[in-house]
Amino acid sequence: MKKQRLIAAAMAAVAISGALAGCSASGTDSGDKVNLSYWLWDANQQPAYKACATAFTKANPDIDVTVKQFGWDDYWSQITTGLVSGTAPDVFTGHSSYFPTFVEKHQILPIDDVVKADDINLKQYETGLTAAWTSGKKLYGLPKDVGLAAMYVNSDMLEKAGLTADDLSNLEWNPKDGGTFEKTIAHLTLDAKGVRGDEPGFDKSNVAVYGLGLNGDGGGLGETIWGQYAESNDWTYLDEKGGKPHFNYDDKNFLDAISWFKGLSDKGYMPTLEQAVSGIGQQDSYGAGKYAMISEGSWSASTLFGYKDVKSIIAPLPLGPSGHRASPANGLADNIAVTTKHPEQSKKLVAFLGSKDCQSLVAKQAVVFPAIADLSDATKKAYEAKGIDISPFLETVDKGDIYSSPSVANWAEVNAIMTPAMQAYLGGSAPLDSFVDANKQVNALYN
C-alpha cells in the first residue's frame, strides 16, 4: 500500500509538472527594445492606428507598439482588471465617462511635461476638447477625435413627403408649438393607413413610420437624444458655484425642453420609451424603415449609410430658442495607465497619436472626425469618397454651436440618479416636477 501511495504521489507530481511544462513562455523584451501595448475598442479604427503604430516605430526604432482591440462590452472590465493586476496596457483609448474616476483614483498619468518638452500646440484642437481631458490643471490626454450630432434622414421618405434637403437646413423648434421642426416631423410620420401626422384622421395609436426616432432615455446626459434641445434652449448642465458643481435639472428651460420632447411621443410622432427600448436599437429600426429621421452621432455615419434599403442624407440639428444649434462635441483621448513600466516612451506615443502625422492617417479612413481643426478638409474629402456629405457636422463646429458633456467626479452617481428619473418621466409614470427632487439629490452629492 505504501508503495502504491508513493506511485500515486509521483503520478500526481508528473501530471502537474507536465501541465506546467506545456505552458508557453510569455514574451520577454529583447535587449534595449521597448514594447508598448496600445488598446482600443473600435475595430473600425484599428487599421488606422496600426498604421500610426508603424509610423511611430519608424520614427522611434527602439520602441515597438502592439495594437490590441477589445469590443466595448469587454473593454472596460479588461482595463480595470488589468489596472488591478498590473497587466493593463501602457496606453489605451480613454472615454470621458471613465476619465474622472481614473483621475480620482490616480490610475492615469498626466502628460503636461511632454506637452511642454515637444512644444505641442494645444490650440490646434477643436474648442473645448482639451478642457474635457484636464483635471486639477493637469492634462491627461491629447484629444484624438470629435464626435458631433446631426439628423440622418431617409431621403426616399423625404421625397414622398414632398420635401427637399433645403427644407431641412433651417428648421427651428421651440417649447410652445415645436416650430417648423415639429411640423416637419409630423409631416413625415405615417400611420398604418398612410395618413400623415399633420393630416386629419391621423391615428396615433397605429403608426407605421415615426417621423423622429428615439434612442432610449439618455440618463443624465441625453447625448443625441434630448441634449441638443435642452442646450439650445439657453440651458447648461451645470455651473460652478463656489468651486463646486451645481446641476440645473430643475431649471425652467430644461423642463420646458423635456416636456416638449415627451410631447412628441404623446402626439404619435415619436415612439414611446417603452417601444424604443424593446427590440432592436434606433439604428437598426432606421435601417428597417421604421423611422424617417433620427438624431445620431457622426461616429455612426458609416453604419447608417451602409444600410442597403435606406438612402440617407444628413441634415443639421434644428435651431433652438437661443437662436443657435447645440451639438455635443465630445472626443476621445489616449490615456497612460499608471501601471506602465515605460512612462517616458508611453508619453512619446501619446504625443505622436495626438499629432497631425497620425491623425491625418485616421482622417483618411473616414471612420471618425479627427480633433485637429486643420484636418476637417481632409476628413470631408475622405467621407465624400464614401458618398457621405459631412458638411452639416462641420458647420456646427465652425459656428461654435457646440457643447461638451459634464466632466465632474461622481458622474456615475449623477447618472444613477437621473436615469430612473428620466425613465420615469419619459415613460409617463412621473410628473415633470419629479426632476426638481432629482436635482436636489444630484446637488447633494457635491455638498
Binding site: 502504491q4 505552458c23 510569455s26 490590441k68 482591440q69 479588461q78 493586476s85 436599437g281 461616429w299
Partner: protein, 320 residues
C-alpha cells in the same frame, strides 16, 4: 384488433351485431388516427420552434449586414453572401470587411482553434481522470472523515463561479502564469464537484463481489480501479468526459481574463470581437452568427458521434 375481428368474419357475411360493432370500431380507428396525426402535428410544431433559432442563425450568417434590418421577415438569407464566413476564417481583407459593415479585426482562426482544442482536451483528460479516482475513493474506500469531506466537496458546488474568479485571477497572476495554457486550465484541472458527485453515484452501484474477488487475488486499489471499475463504468465516464469537453470549450469569461495573448487565446474569446465594437453600435450580426456556428460545430460533431453513449448512460440504472 379491429382488423383481426373483421378478417375473421366468414365469407363477407356480417351479422347485425358485428355490423354495429364495426361502426363503433371504425369510429375508434378514426379517432386513433386523428390522435396520431394530432401527435405528429404537435411534435412537428415543437421541433419547428426548437430548430427555428438554429435555422435563423444559419440564415443570418449567410446575409449581408446592411440588408438585414430591411429584410427582417425574409426567411431566406438577405443578400446571400459568403463574406461573413470569410471574415471569421480570417480570409477577408480589412477594406473588404469595412465595406461589408463587418468587424475589421484580424482573426487567426486556426491558432485559436488549436488553443481551444488544447485547453478543452487537457481539462477533460485531467478532470475526468482525477475526478474518477476521487469518486472511487469516496464510494469504495473507507477512511476517517470521509462523509465530512464529501459534504465539503458538495458544498463547493453551491459556490457561484464568480466568487472564485477574482481570487483565482490574483493567484494565477502571482504565480506568473497569466497568458499561458497552465493559467487557463489550472483552476479546474484536478476536479469538479459535479464530476465527483456524478461518478460516485455510479461507482456505488457497482457490485462489491467483483472487487472482493480481485482483492482476494492480491490486487491493490489502483489495479482494481483501472482494471475493473473503470472498464465497467465506461458509459458514465465518457458522458462526463463529453460534458466536461463541451463546458470547457464554451468557457468564455475565465479564458478572457487569463488568456489574452494570441498564442493562448481560445476560440470563444477570439470570436468576442464580433460583438458590439462601439457603445451605441450594433454587432457584426452576420459575422457573429457565422462565428457562433463555427465555434459550435466541433461540439455538435462530438455530440453526434458520442451522443448515443450519453443517452444510454442516462438510462443506466447502475444495476448490472
Amino acid at each position: 384488433m379491429t382488423s383481426v375481428l373483421e378478417k375473421t368474419t366468414l365469407g363477407g357475411q356480417t351479422p347485425a351485431a358485428p355490423r354495429s360493432m364495426s361502426a363503433a370500431d371504425r369510429k375508434r380507428r378514426v379517432r386513433r388516427r386523428l390522435w396520431k396525426i394530432g401527435a405528429w402535428i404537435i411534435l412537428g410544431a415543437v421541433l419547428l420552434v426548437t430548430l427555428f433559432p438554429f435555422y435563423w442563425m444559419l440564415r443570418t450568417s449567410f446575409s449581408t449586414n446592411g440588408a438585414l434590418p430591411g429584410q427582417s421577415t425574409n426567411l431566406l438569407p438577405a443578400d446571400f453572401t459568403l463574406d461573413a464566413y470569410r471574415r471569421v476564417l480570417g480570409l477577408s481583407t480589412v477594406s473588404d470587411s469595412l465595406q461589408q459593415g463587418g468587424s475589421t479585426a484580424s482573426i487567426n482562426f486556426w491558432i485559436y482553434l488549436r488553443n481551444s482544442v488544447v485547453v478543452a482536451t487537457v481539462t477533460t483528460v485531467f478532470q475526468t481522470l482525477f475526478s474518477a479516482m476521487a469518486a472511487y475513493a469516496f464510494a469504495r474506500l473507507r477512511w476517517p472523515f470521509r462523509s465530512a469531506v464529501f459534504a465539503l466537496f458538495l458544498g463547493a458546488m453551491l459556490v457561484p463561479p464568480i466568487f472564485t474568479t477574482l481570487p483565482n485571477f490574483v493567484l494565477i497572476r502571482d504565480l506568473g502564469l497569466l497568458n499561458t495554457y497552465a493559467g487557463i486550465v489550472l483552476p479546474g484541472l484536478l476536479m469538479s464537484p459535479f464530476a465527483i458527485f456524478f461518478l460516485r453515484q455510479f461507482f456505488l452501484g457497482i457490485s462489491t463481489e467483483v472487487e472482493e474477488a480481485a482483492k482476494i487475488d492480491g490486487a491493490g486499489y489502483f489495479r482494481i480501479f483501472f482494471r475493473i471499475v473503470v472498464p465497467m463504468s465506461w458509459a458514465p465516464i465518457s458522458t462526463l468526459a463529453l460534458l466536461t469537453y463541451i463546458g470547457s470549450w464554451n468557457d468564455y469569461f475565465w479564458p478572457l481574463l487569463v488568456g489574452q495573448n494570441e498564442n493562448v487565446r481560445v476560440l470563444t474569446v477570439a470570436l468576442g470581437i464580433f460583438r458590439a465594437q462601439t457603445p451605441n453600435g450594433s454587432p457584426d450580426w452576420a459575422g457573429l452568427m457565422a462565428a457562433t456556428f463555427i465555434a459550435a460545430l466541433p461540439v455538435m460533431l462530438i455530440f453526434a458521434l458520442l451522443g448515443r453513449k450519453v443517452i444510454n448512460s442516462i438510462g443506466f440504472s447502475g444495476i448490472k
